[in-house]
């Protein structure tokens, strides 16, 4: 049976993806919460792909100053988009990093997404 799940994908600032957490794909429903970490960064917590009952993965989004709430809204829109494979950020081989998340709100100006296990 087709699950029709929406999966999110983000690359981690390296066009030669070759190591753990340089990119992550996860079901949109795995997002547990978001909060502003500073004026220019917002943290998105994602259920650990290891199955551990602790230490979720973190996606730290760098953006325009003071746009934390707008970034959370944009992430929510991506999570609830039709999918099924929704790109938040990507690194095409040989090209610059792309941030489709910026298409949802022209003011957030996301410039980096770092993923940590």
């Amino acid at each position: 049976m087709n699950q029709n799940k929406n999966f999110l994908y983000s690359a981690n600032g390296d066009d030669a993806i070759s190591a753990t957490m340089e990119a992550l794909m996860f079901p949109a429903t795995a997002i547990t919460g978001m909060f502003g970490a500073s004026l220019t960064t917002t943290n998105v917590s994602i259920q650990a792909t290891t199955g551990a009952n602790d230490n979720n993965h973190q996606m730290l989004i760098t953006h325009a100053s003071g746009k934390n709430k707008e970034v959370m809204n944009a992430v929510t829109k991506l999570a609830n988009s039709a999918g099924p494979f929704t790109v938040i950020s990507a690194f095409p081989v040989g090209g610059p990093e792309l941030f489709p998340i910026n298409n949802l709100d022209g003011t957030i100006l996301v410039t980096n997404i770092a993923i940590t296990a």
Binding site: N6, A28, T29, I31, T32, G33, M34, F35, G36, A37, S38, L39, T42, N43, S45, Q47, A48, A52, N53, D54, N55, N56, Q58, N68, K69, M72, N73, T76, K77, A79, N80, S81, A82
Partner: protein
Amino acid sequence: MDNYVYFGKRSHFSCLANGSVQVSDALTAANFGIVPADFTAATATEEAQGYEIFIETKEANGSTRGTALTALGDVITGEVKAGNAAAKATTIIGDVTRLKFDTVGMSSGVLTVANFGADGTDGYLVDAADRWIIREKIGSTNDALSDVPAINQAVCLNMANFISADPVDTATAATVGIGILDGAVVDIDQTRLSFKSVKGDATNDTILLTHKSGAYKDVMIAMEELANGGYHRQGKGYYTFTDLMSGKKTIWEERLGIIGCSMQVQAV
């Protein structure tokens, strides 16, 4: 697809003048969201610290309120008491006085105010029946309270991780529940919302909502609406439940009479 709910903090606490009447009960992470930084009297201002401190008079007394406090006018009515010095220093039941930081200090979350006898200008002699209201000040210059984002200042949670809503007992002697809503002192209640941990461990994250009296069930109905609402099916699904420090009112703040929101989210 899930709905996500944003909670912005504005700490709120109220208590009876228990024990040594010149001190408040302790502000803690559990009842106020944060333990405010220590400061000593006459070293800070309301604007700099970011807190407003009020005393509601529940027992009429003479020689109670300093002249500078009287001159500020009643917090609710705005009336500046007229008459001679004795009349101005007398409080009557229902007066709500804004304290000045000239005589107020904070240590380990406990506020201490100098009494009228010690300072006839900025002091206040608290009666055992009086009630304290302490809340974050909108528009203060203490950016660390809300303007510089950090954990436990605001959080956006997945409603799929919502676990429960429980009433909080605000009727004990120590934590009498009152607040200022729509220009009047009213009884308030609190509801604690529990969510699976953002961090991902076995300890829940919690939101403490302070709202108008008797709104427990209405808060719970709102949670059901947020969890089961179809907004996410439109490719959206982001709700702002509280954003009190913005100075605006969300529809839920308006409907439920929400005047305070604090949170305990584990550091990730």
